[in-house]
Symmetry: C2
Subunit: 416 residues, 2 copies
Amino acid sequence: MEHPEASLCSAEGVNKFKETALFQDYHGMPEFREAVAKFMGKVRGGRVKFDPDRIVMSGGATGAHEMVAFCLADPGEAFLVPTPYYPGFDRDLRWRTGVELVPVVCESSNNFKITRAALEAAYEKAKEANLRVKGLLITNPSNPLGTILDRDTLKGIVKFINEKNIHLIGDEIYAATVFMEPEFVSISEIIEEVECNRDLIHIVYSLSKDMGFPGFRVGIVYSYNDAVVSCARKMSSFGLVSSQTQHLIATMLSDDDFVDSFIVESKEQLFKRHEYFTLSLSEVGIGSLKSNAGLFIWMDLRKLLKEKTLDAEMDLWRVIINEVKLNVSPGSSFHCDEPGWFRVCFANMDDNTMEVALLRITTFMHKHNEAMVPRKLCRRASLKLSLSRRRDDFMSQNMMSPHSPIPQSPLVRART
Amino acid sequence: MEHPEASLCSAEGVNKFKETALFQDYHGMPEFREAVAKFMGKVRGGRVKFDPDRIVMSGGATGAHEMVAFCLADPGEAFLVPTPYYPGFDRDLRWRTGVELVPVVCESSNNFKITRAALEAAYEKAKEANLRVKGLLITNPSNPLGTILDRDTLKGIVKFINEKNIHLIGDEIYAATVFMEPEFVSISEIIEEVECNRDLIHIVYSLSKDMGFPGFRVGIVYSYNDAVVSCARKMSSFGLVSSQTQHLIATMLSDDDFVDSFIVESKEQLFKRHEYFTLSLSEVGIGSLKSNAGLFIWMDLRKLLKEKTLDAEMDLWRVIINEVKLNVSPGSSFHCDEPGWFRVCFANMDDNTMEVALLRITTFMHKHNEAMVPRKLCRRASLKLSLSRRRDDFMSQNMMSPHSPIPQSPLVRART
């Protein structure tokens, strides 16, 4: 409302209507690219600068991932992807490109860390399958884990891809969601600290999560490789950002005060919600992976499985969807080998909905674990009472966006 | 300005900001699809109705064509395309899909008509090259010809694709630019008149030309085939229309008075400009293909060629770009076999620019054809004077959009 010039239908903005509607340079509006580059720097704590001329537009991160895959690999070639990973990758990177994904198996025993041994094992497995590995795709912060990669792990990853001479795609679409220490470290910082061939480094970014604008379809490929920038730019014709939206975003992100306070407030709200949610779960005996980012938690229901199999995980998932009436995503849909993990989005609902969800979980735990729950149930009830008094703290008008409309849940998969 | 609710930054529209920013159903907003379906009907004279549930979004017609190619063909399979055709097809349909295009050679001797003989010849040629033909792509109205396909030709085309059991893609992105009799006939009308397998029929549409909004990236695939609708809808994730733009377009196209008068006024302006431009050219001895649609004319400079070769056409093009200082597109860039044709956009410039262009052409013709030009030059001068008095007639605030930023011209090709 404070920026009527951001609109094309206002007295202040209508003189830009024609120019904007006709705009069709696939490089994007200079003010849009500059604003996005600046925002990317801010989100990374101002420790790195991004060059607007390396900003390539795409139709959301969805289009960005496909674009990078088209740029870097031929059909039948492969990317390594640490598990658990966003199931949309199976569509985005593979579907139309013919590219293969080879899982890098990470395990709960070391908090799903990406180790050199796991990377080497995946690389060898690909070789045995006669797949040429063209790159490694990491998601940092991680979807579904809600964790970030530490500096040493990132350095090890850069060393690995340099030694193998393969590309590194850093999906950093949750960069601004790191709501708690330790601080987020971007791959763009690491390559300034260690020696590496920058032609191998590419970042996928988006405003869908960090700004909560999935509807606006603002995806970005930021490559340090000139040839990739040039090729991706030509491909961007298939998924350009609407010039109307470029205009809006350019205006919005140019307001430093707004951006600075938005980033802070968004993190604060995520922190509170995350704290409340994990606390509430732990009070009914549900643990989760320690996390400090993202819009979800990686819930540990291993002890509720009838047996340690993915079939048992699906059985439990069916109970949760049909009886508990909650749509959480089973770990298997993220290619997690170890049964019993579930991703829960905690950000994309209002406080009332969250309360309902938590009460359903409590009731569920009560039913399944009668021996330990009665005491907890009382505590939940009192929590609910205390929440209604603390409504202002938790109530948010700026709820983060949900994940993309992707078949993460087997329920959705069955429908599409 | 009369619809502040179309904006998300106005007092009237800001309450829709959150909902719109978060919107991510790849079916598209119901009001958007309804408005587009209604507009498509209006543009076709209200003679056919379009089902909003068959409207699939894509990133402009560029993304729509790629999407259709991905849906209908595997790598190495082919589409027939009558020449001359929009050179962007070589990118959109082929680049990432691996699909081949086989030209259906049309000739000036019968005004570039698409004949059964030409279709059969192309089909046979593909077969000889061991290419499996999956469909025929027609552009109606034609870019670059500015002509429309008559009812009998369209019926013949539908008969042909039915007999061969191949798909028909009707690119109708210039449907609203038919500014003169005969009336536009859409493939959607033909399939109601003749028997055909509707599963083979698909329409590509866009608001880039008919509304002059290339920057907004509104592309549409409208298929009569349920499987294609379903598959394309999933692919649309790679190039969805920004929800902000869906909201604007839905509001805009719901205003019947505006739409009705826009369609009429746009045609009127195109008609005047086309008439003035072709008349001015003919006065200096330049003919063009008789046309009644589109934003361009197909200029006949065959007699200016030093010899009847495509090399000579390129020589002439270099003279036009370097000496005459006009950027027109040689026929060879549209896969036209016959040298000497050039596409001239007449719509995307203001009246002053048009005057400069016409004067340059006049001077050029004078220089190249001294024997016949002096008389014409005088006439041009008087035309210019009369124009300045008729400025209001030709001056337009609603100039149509230019073509996409595609390497139609060898100059642009060399740079990208």
